[in-house]
Amino acid sequence: MEKQKTFESLTQGVFILDKDEFSRFIKKYPLYPEQIIHPNWRYLPFLTIKENLAIDNSKKSLLTMDHLLKLLDLMPTLLEQKNQSLTLFEKIKCQLLQKLLTKKETIVFAYAIDALSIAEKQQLLSICERLVQDYQLTIYILSDDANLLRLKFH
């Protein structure tokens, strides 16, 4: 019988975790603020979105901005704006773009996608799957959504 996969035994993939599992996870693995995607992305209002994304200049990805914008289905004009109201989905995508630009290998969605519509959730999950396949990332989705938790591991 095949052993059941757990987030502790895997190094790559999309993992959907509840609060308890996530508490166990962060006790074992150190987590840094720059790895986390929040539902309410707080950015510096006096900078453009592009400048906000460039705050973290530690490690630069080899992927181009154009390629990532296409992958995430984001408009380039959005990045040049300042102090505008982004939708929740745009905020999540912008943060994801930031993590990809700075070559983060582990990304955590902290209750970020619970409030999205079903179509948006599906789109985001397919983007996550593609990122895992193409760039060998580890993505943790922390959620309270019972439907989403039923999906568990990919």
Binding site: I26, Y32, P33, E34, I36, R42, F46, E51, N52, D56
Partner: protein, 248 residues
Amino acid sequence: MNKKVIILAIFRMAWASFKYHKRFHFFFCLSLILIFILLFFMQAIALSLNLIEEQFRNQQVFTNIPNLFMQNYQNFIQNGQLVVLFLLALLIGSKEWSRKKEYLIWLNNGGQARRLVAIQLIESCFLLLTASFVFFLILVLFVPTFKLEIIRLHQIIINQSSTLNTELEILFKTESNNQLNLHFSNFNQMIEHIFFTNNNQWFGILLSAYGYTCLWLTKSFFLIHIVATCSNIFGRKLYWKNKKLLNL
């Protein structure tokens, strides 16, 4: 990333922040100008002391006066500088307090602490330059007022010490071989005479006082600022360690 590009980006961010926090910066600059004025008076008094001292130098009969005189001024200047330092720390502390959310955002987005310190210092540099420029304009426009206030401050400092006051009264009333009571009836008259007859020297004193004020304030400002910003950033990092952000 190229170093030049990073430095340019830091300057651009500092300028954007400087423009964005207009309301706070208006009050910050206003307070900084007040601190400038306070410190300027201390420096002007310290520098103009030489002019008064010259008058006493030849009075051998009253040797204890210069000592008492200097002690009085030293106390005043030292206490004044302590007050200025305290006000400066309070002002910088208020700026740091108002920015704590921005620091958290910066750190959460993976920004480097040293870049944040650089941005804050450059932004404060703009503020300090603005305040010093405005203060210079005020100084040029109100030179006579500043002059009168400095004279009044001298008189206040002298009148504060009853011992010195009595000694000076004796000095100006005793008819001995001192030269002072031939020209002036009291200390206030002497000061007014010194300050109104040496116009050229006066302008030099005001300019030097302005220069020393800028130098002293810049040094203290950046020293306090660096300590305050680093402590604030350290505090934000501790906040993250508590994991309050994840509601866990």
